[in-house]
């Protein structure tokens, strides 16, 4: 069963001593039998202009592709956009030329704009064949540093964005199960919307999400190195769901969401 991790990070998280390196990510993928990972740079969340962080991410992925030292597993890039940067559309256009880029990630609360602005980003990303990932949160709100005391992005508003741009492929990253359940009636009718499961938790969380929005709408994701990746794997493995559903969550859905071959 193919496992595609729909969200991991490289770089340093500034509020805890954790760092995502290519070597660490490779070890994690091997240990968890993950064949592909969509990866974004932590620094892109914090730099005013994420472009240098994206450049570094793409350099690291390109270096890893050197056949002489190519390890198991494949990395795809999901660079980060700040929609308050005037030339973000040009950035999308340039990023789309890189065959390693399958999506762009926006983080409205980190960069200080309304979720509704993601509609235009979804249209532009779709016009270049890329999926749009919208980061709801990363850290448990109870643990925020005073200088990063951010609310979560509204999942309800992201669903509205997806409904308004049916040609775009939109992935909601790091929503909690309760937030998904609240939007389930509408979200389950949208064929262009997926949810990463990294922040789902609670007894039967995967079963409940499958029942609420359908197994086709869920993507296996780890939020590594922020979270232990094995926690994401075991959530899906322990779920009392049909084997085809498990396969859909682990990999089949991601192929559609990110147009992976």
């Amino acid at each position: 069963m193919t496992r595609i991790d729909a969200s991991a990070f490289l770089g340093r998280w500034p509020f805890r001593p954790i760092e995502g390196t290519v070597a660490g990510l490779t070890r994690m993928m091997r240990a968890n039998d993950i064949s592909h990972t969509l990866v974004s740079p932590f620094e892109g969340l914090f730099y005013a202009d994420p472009e240098p962080a994206n450049e570094e991410l793409l350099r690291q992925i390109a270096r890893r592709r050197n056949p002489s030292r190519r390890p198991a597993g494949k990395l795809w890039a999901a660079p980060i956009l700040n929609l308050r940067i005037a030339d973000w559309r040009e950035q999308v256009k340039a990023l789309a030329r890189n065959p390693q880029v399958r999506a762009v990630l926006v983080a409205p609360t980190f960069h200080g704009y309304e979720v509704s602005a993601c509609g235009e980003a979804a249209r532009v990303a779709a016009s270049h064949g890329l999926a749009l990932m919208v980061q709801v949160r990363l850290e448990d709100e109870r643990h925020h540093s005073p200088i990063l005391d951010l609310p979560a992005a509204s999942v309800k508003e992201i669903v509205s964005v997806a409904a308004s741009v049916p040609k775009a492929r939109i992935v909601i990253s790091a929503a909690r199960l309760v937030e998904v359940l609240q939007v389930a009636p509408r979200a389950s009718r949208l064929g262009n919307l997926w949810f990463g499961i990294s922040h789902f938790d609670g007894l039967e969380c995967i079963q409940r999400a499958c029942q609420a929005v359908g197994a086709k709408r869920l993507l296996f994701s780890t939020s590594w190195p922020f979270f232990y990746a094995k926690s994401g794997v075991l959530k899906v493995e322990e779920a009392e769901v049909a084997v085809p559903w498990r396969g859909a969550v682990f990999g089949d859905n991601a192929r559609r969401a990110f147009a992976l071959k």
Partner: protein, 256 residues
């Protein structure tokens, strides 16, 4: 074998609902290789439940102990704001019915003197106390303990075995608060599976003071088990966390 040191039967407030809610947890535990589930019902989930609500919650756990004799170990929840009733309830549930431990939540802080009689009774009976704690950066409940409160309790009661719940909520500061007290442990339940926390707990406390617990149904078995299986530990450390330490603390109930 794995022992889940920290679980709840469900979100319900009465025996019937809790009995209905528990079977999925038992199935999930079995799929993850969990042999024993230490169950506590926090009465009606109010911060300071009255003695009647406390008894009803414990009755639900007793009922599940009877239905799952080879799977469920009961923990007796008590409210220290009702000291006499708390001791009476401990005698009813631990001495009389064979519950394996005592649970304290957020009725008052662990450093409160009203907890002393309960801690002394736990030591006399040779059963552990599971005490909630969290360093909440915003919000938080009036009687909610922080790890420093639990450390104060452990210092006053060195013969009482205490397990502080919620490693992720404690964070590095909480671990340093409790490190000087060898009778004080931490469980890994609750919170998100933030990488590195289990290794940090082992580094600061030693593996013999870290226990596996889920806080189910609030958290899932898979997510919590993943914390231990991915953490950079030796096989021996992993075994201590998953069952060795719990078996030692529960020896009165499980034997040696």
């Amino acid at each position: 074998m794995i022992i889940d040191f920290h679980a709840h039967p469900g979100y319900g407030k009465d025996i019937a609902t809790l009995r209905e809610e528990f079977p999925p947890a038992a199935r999930a535990a079995e799929r993850c290789g969990v042999r024993w589930i230490c169950l506590n019902a926090i009465a009606d989930w109010s911060e300071s439940p009255n003695p009647k609500a406390v008894r009803e919650g414990n009755d639900a756990v007793l009922s599940l102990m009877a239905s799952y004799p080879d799977r469920v170990l009961g923990f007796c929840y008590v409210n220290p704001r009702y000291p006499a009733q708390a001791l009476k309830e401990i005698d009813r549930c631990v001495v009389g019915e064979g519950m394996a431990g005592i649970k304290l939540w957020v009725a008052c802080k662990a450093s409160d003197r009203r907890v002393d009689a309960i801690a002394r009774r736990a030591a006399q009976l040779g059963v552990p106390i599971l005490q909630h704690a969290w360093y909440v950066r915003r919000g938080g409940l009036r009687g909610e303990s922080v790890p420093a409160d639990v450390a104060a309790m452990a210092k006053r009661h060195p013969r009482t075995m205490i397990v502080m719940a919620h490693l992720t909520g404690a964070g590095e500061r909480g671990l340093r608060d409790i490190a000087p007290y060898p009778n004080l442990h931490v469980d890994i339940s609750g919170g998100e599976p933030e990488a590195g926390m289990v290794e940090l707990a082992v580094k600061l406390l030693g593996a013999e003071r870290v226990l596996f617990g889920t806080d189910t149904p609030i958290r899932s078995y898979g997510a919590t088990l993943g914390k231990v299986l991915e953490a950079d530990l030796t096989g021996g450390e992993r075994e201590l966390i998953l069952f060795g330490n719990a078996r030692r603390l529960l020896r009165r109930r499980l034997g040696r």
